[in-house]
Symmetry: C2
Subunit: 418 residues, 2 copies
Amino acid sequence: MTKKEEMHALLGAARAAARRLAVASTAEKNAALTALAAGLRADAGEILAANARDVGAARAAGKSAALVDRLTLNAKRLEEMAGAVEEVVVLPDPIGEIYDLKIRPNGLRVGRMRLPLGVVGIIFESRPNVVIDAAALCLKSGNAAVLRGGSEAAHSNRALGAALGRALAAAGLPATAAQVIDDPDRELVLHLVQARGLVDVLIPRGGESLIGFVAANATVPLIYHAKGVCHVYVDADADLAKALPIVMNAKVQRPGVCNAMETLLVHRDVAPHFLPEAAQALRAAGVELRGCERARAIAPYMAAADESDWSAEYLDLILAVRVVDDMDGAIAHIARYGSDHTEAIITENYTRAGRFLREVQSSCVLVNASTRFNDGGELGLGAEIGISTTKLHAYGPMGLAELTAAKFVVFGAGQIRG
Amino acid sequence: MTKKEEMHALLGAARAAARRLAVASTAEKNAALTALAAGLRADAGEILAANARDVGAARAAGKSAALVDRLTLNAKRLEEMAGAVEEVVVLPDPIGEIYDLKIRPNGLRVGRMRLPLGVVGIIFESRPNVVIDAAALCLKSGNAAVLRGGSEAAHSNRALGAALGRALAAAGLPATAAQVIDDPDRELVLHLVQARGLVDVLIPRGGESLIGFVAANATVPLIYHAKGVCHVYVDADADLAKALPIVMNAKVQRPGVCNAMETLLVHRDVAPHFLPEAAQALRAAGVELRGCERARAIAPYMAAADESDWSAEYLDLILAVRVVDDMDGAIAHIARYGSDHTEAIITENYTRAGRFLREVQSSCVLVNASTRFNDGGELGLGAEIGISTTKLHAYGPMGLAELTAAKFVVFGAGQIRG
């Protein structure tokens, strides 16, 4: 078999499993998830041994400490994975839900019923927990999952895939309902992203290089976010007692994630009061500041920002700072340099709060709250398989509902069309 | 300029217009639509003269009567187009609508706000009314429209595009908010379907050849239906007094459209009673019947269906007929040969009605009603820009809401993440 035939055979098995999963009962799906959580605990020794091989190889290859950390599993992280699966068990099953039921003048009752998308492909990098998190959400939403992780986690992912297969079998569901691809050949990824008609949606999760490769080559539908260049705009009418903690939280609470602030925009009227205090607190937290000329006139210890800073996703303790003339200037800056991910305004002004919410086109727009809230759990979705900035199908964090489509269901009494 | 540069310049202008449209008020958009309806009436002479050139050329080229009919405009059809635009004026503006507003434990109020998709590309064939129908729906939903019709309608489409431009200008909106591409060069279509990042979604509308070309070459997101192989299943517990009018309506009321029935499935227990009566009525209406062996044993005047009949979209007065053992046989037939478009069950059985609705994965599933109801107007969407069987983003008829995305909007009071 060629690599292409191999991938198509795997996806064909996924499609067959998807037909079974689409009509699986909630009890069957929950039984598989419960067995999975138990299996992760029971097979901890095997999984951690496989992971130790990956971690050892990554260390020997001189990989960065950050990558080794993302790759590493231990008893605590494995227990967190099992706990996350149990949280999915208690989430409501979206499949079969009927909503928007309305009665037409001719008596037809028309509603929408959620159904699975079918086969969901996930391409991700070094975190092995994605195997379990993504498979659990796909399973609960009735989708077959095809999971392709980074080659540096191949042993870990294979062990987690085996646990998945055992849990599915224990619940009487096909083992091909969640398949892990552990062959490191990148050609397989190409056949996965070009399997139009076999993959219903592909969700790549990772850095710009992975996303770039997938976006440039894919012919199957994609949902993803390329990067998170998130802004906080401190308005002329900001309550500075709210602004400072929000700015600090958005930048320093977890700087390496996509919903952390990368650029701070400050209205020129409050900049002289706010910037010195904010800059002091940020520097005390270890943040390197890169300001526009007007910002540096107020806080001369800032480095000079250049054009590339406005579109940089630092994922680090670095912050670009720009003074703007007004909210329109902030909105124009965000439209030009932003990534449609997450933007916040800090203001007590009713009209501008409303305009900012309406006019900023990003996947999550906040008033007087930290950008760090753009997260499925924090926004009430229960769990998250990723964040979309692609607008089509989903925009922002994606939970179980975003892994479904909705068909029209019609309850008739013999109606015909005139 | 190369053709590619030409297309990218056009799409760049569309993107700029989209930013303006995204914040246009309902009054501005309705003013443009009202001006458009008035303009179609005022410019009727110019539009009909342009159309006469297209119709003359099509006749001279020996095009089919069906194509010439689809291409032809007259005073009545133009008035219908203007009326359709006025119907869009009275539909609620979806943009800015906030729904699903919930309060999180930390006091954050989290909702979803509808926003436009951005730039919507429409590729269609000979019907010039699509220019106006699609542009009106895109405009009302705040999207810039790029419209590419068939070369046989180039003069008509150019005249309609001019009317669109005048209406937009009259309302103070950019003329590039709705652009008609009237250059017949097919290379332009290729650059349109591959303009990733410039086109937010492409909706091809037409026959299998057009859809096939677009699907094979596109790198931008697509929403479409390839074909409509729609089924009616007459169950063992069908009320035959409902079944016969539904079968007749689904097949003969308008056989050339995508939601017309193409295959009739009949439970073996009712086939001896139902098939002779149904076959007689269908034949009286001019329908050619192609049956399986069991159907022909009951109604021997049917032609013999072969394998290709089960997946045929006749769009004509032809019907494939198959006798099945039970509902599971009907569902398996639909899963194998269907096109995910529209399927109906005729039954009085509560359990089987529920199972059919749940288990059939098509975009519209009906109990005791004609397949002809899978239509945006009939299902209560107010209007329709097309029907999707691609599941992603929309499934079934697409109205104004399906031309929007929804961002998360968060009303905070200073919350930060712990």
